[in-house]
Amino acid sequence: MATTDVTPRESAGGMGRKRIVNDMSIQVATVNGSGSQSSNTVLLRSIFQMGVPVSGKNMFPSNIAGLPTWYTIRANKNGYIGRKKEIDFLVAMNPETAQEDTMSLAAGASVLYDEPLALHKLRDDLIFYSVPYDKIVAAVCPEAKLRKLVKNMVYVGVVANLLTVEMTEVEKAIRKQFAKKVKAANLNLAAAQAGFDYAKANLQKRGAFYIERMNATAGKIIIDGNSAAALGCMFAGCTVVTWYPITPSSSLVETMIEYMKEYRIGPDGKATFAIVQAEDELAAIGMVIGAGWAGARSMTATAGPGISLMSEFAGLAYYVEVPGVIWDIQRVGPSTGLPTRTSQGDILSTAFLSHGDTKNIMLFPCSVTECFSMAPDAFNLAEQFQTLVFVMSDLDLGMNNWMSDPFEYPTTPINRGKVLSKEDLDRLGGFARYKDVDGDGIGYRTLPGTIHPAAAYFARGSGHNERAQYSERADDFENNMERLNRKFETARSFVPRPEITKGNNAKIGIIGYGTSHWGITESRDQLRDEYSVETDYLRLRAYPFTREVHEFIERHDRIYLVEQNRDAQMLTLLKLDLKPELTTRLRSIAHITGLPLDARSITDELTSMEGK
């Protein structure tokens, strides 16, 4: 029987005696399309409900069913919820990858496997637990065709027993997961309970890892970044959404459809929004621009290949000065790349997206909270500056589950920018669309449908003068481009400021952005605790860079710019902005594996460059 499989091979020894509480990573290896997502979510929630900080990261294939997928749950009492490189507890459900997964573990890790896989024969420095899933599931699930799906819930019960996760919390999580499907909930609960009971009766806990109740998650929520962004856009007053499905951005709009259908239907039963699935990304951004020109708060969500396709239209929006919000949920390029893996690889191309001297505003959310809060910021900036605003999220943030404090209701009012009404035109007599009246580079616009004989102007991507008339004159062209540059300079004072965290008399600065934040935060503690290296940290939140970024670089001898791409894209962008003598202070820690950046990789590279 199974238990006998684990008892020998004491050479893993010693591990069993040390207690490691609320600090571990659990990896579940399954086949995609097998319903494992529900089981993973239940396990994640159960730990969360016990008050332990937790995160879940799904590493999945670009495929519908039948290929390997891994889900990593990290529980950490200190609140480190970035990816951890090492796996402490492997749940091996996939025969295809079981051997390789097992061989890649560090000594002392635990492996829970399906009995027929006989993984215990592979190594003698791991702790093995074997479970006859098919037998257990057959007993609790009479319907043979459901067994494949329910089987995964059995491991949740086994893990709960082995890691001391309370079954009452597992039940609560299952009830939440299958909220409206009572039968499914009961069936899954029975499966989890059977797993738990089996483990209790047959397995002897030998690993060092324990989940114990603490109080670090009270009041918190669990949500993925795309859902948070969808909510943010709804509360930002977005009215037109056009999109073309692309991983990893599709769920942003799909979730938004659900929320909008529930909360944005007027008393007459009609929608206060329009959401249109376009024929491609070119049409999606074209519709965003048409709608923005006509006065809607319009947006789309896409990923790298879509950004590339949108290039020509982005230049049109820049030059005609049309607002719109583009969410880029970055994935690995170039080309199709790794569609289901994360990166920060679109920074440079988006900053200058399109031909000619085009520059675009970008925002960099690092958390689900910022996916929510930066949505109204993005729409306000887009309308205030009459330009596209790109929100640079990524797959790790967008598609994975993160815990967070509940979002705060937006307090900044909706700012529709400089739009002239009929009454304004009555007073002014007329206007010049591209004239810099206020000295901030931002002209006044009118919306189609404004009933005034002087309201119309001719929006065009070709050369134009202040009055929006066609012009090929050298001075008109140059004046207009200089004004556009002034507008971009004005934006520096209005985009979200960076977040600065200070160390103790640090000479070294770290600059990061987006999801690199989580690895950086943990790495700074490692640097301090393990190497006595103090660091200050600046987290970029927007491009163009604000004054604080320059000051931060001036204050430090060496700056490490941490990012998830090959070519140090943000560092390159920053260099263009800096005084030449400051550029030599910048050093790059750029990683691109498709996996979320982990703290250890940053620590190792930084200490090596510091000669530690």
Binding site: G219, K220, I221, I223, L231, F235, A236, G237, T239, V240, Y263, G266, K270, A271, A274, I275, V276, A278, L282, A283, A284, I285, G286, M287, V288, I289, G290, A291, G292, W293, A294, G295, A296, R297, S298, F313, L316, P406, F407, P410, I414, G430, T446, L447, P448, G449, T450, I451, H452, P453, A454, A455, A456, Y457, F458, A459, R460, G461, S462, R467
Partner: protein
Amino acid sequence: MGTTTVEPGAATPGPKTNRIGLTVMDYKGGKTTLCAGCGHNAISERIIESMYEMGVQPELLIKPSGIGCSSKTPAYFMSRSHSFNAVHGRMPSVATGAILANRKLVCIGVSGDGDTASIGIGQFIHLMRRNLPIIYIIEDNGVYGLTKGQFSATADLGSKLKTGVVNDLPPIDTCALAIQLGATLVGRSFSGDKRQLSAMLKAAIAHKGTVMLDVVSPCVTFNDHEGSTKSYKYVKEHEETLQDVSFVPHFEEIAVEYDPGSTVEVTMHDGSRLRLRKLEEDYDPTDKIRAITRLTEAHDKGEVLTGVFYVNPEAPNFMDLLNVVDQPLATLPDSVTRPGKEVLDAVMEELR
């Protein structure tokens, strides 16, 4: 940019005004920069007339366009209307976005044969499918003018360029495509046929779905020579007219009754009537299959077939399918577009 306005209802005898009190001058545009004799200029004139006669409020009209000679023409009509000269072949998406934002707008999208049938064929096709309330006009000369005379995808098989190059690929029939894909008022006209084009444009304004008008418009500089099938001479010699098209707007008394035996009358969404006096005995403009068959025959015979090929004023348009509020989305108040705090609280509670 706007010309001087005439107060509606001004009683002093002055220039003739339309039903909303505007003169034809209020519908004029800038001076054309196209070649003298260009068919496009005649189309702009017909647009001005029909908008004036239908009493369209100029500020409620938008005129998006793509790139090319045709797409420059919105500068030459109706300066009191907003224009958007967008990117090559992508006017349909810009027009779509604008109508999504403000369904009160009347939209006339101007494109050319290159802008539509070559670079823009993808967006054209999907615009037709949606049946949005948009008038899509192709000013069709079979040739790229701004780049000096290359063939476009509507050039007929065997048609000859000035340089002597012969087109050996079959043309795309934009009307047949539009009918098949879902446009609900589809016709072809000729820039030189004032009466027919004017009646078709007025019907287009009255229609509440996607209108696709292919207007053959000879390019006097690059495609008006012997051997061209889009020259004035060729069209005049080969034009076959399906019907005698006339239009009675809803605000006018019907002066002449029609003979149901010889004339098809279509009542438009706003109560206007489109009258098609049959010149071909058995043609039924509500029969898609017949329309496509007839267009195919025309190609085989080398005819330039004009008239209203297909009309269906009853089909649901995209804005109705989307169930969007009646007011423009663009100007909904914040109180409507930003749900209250209690909504956020409820969502947060679910996520705990």
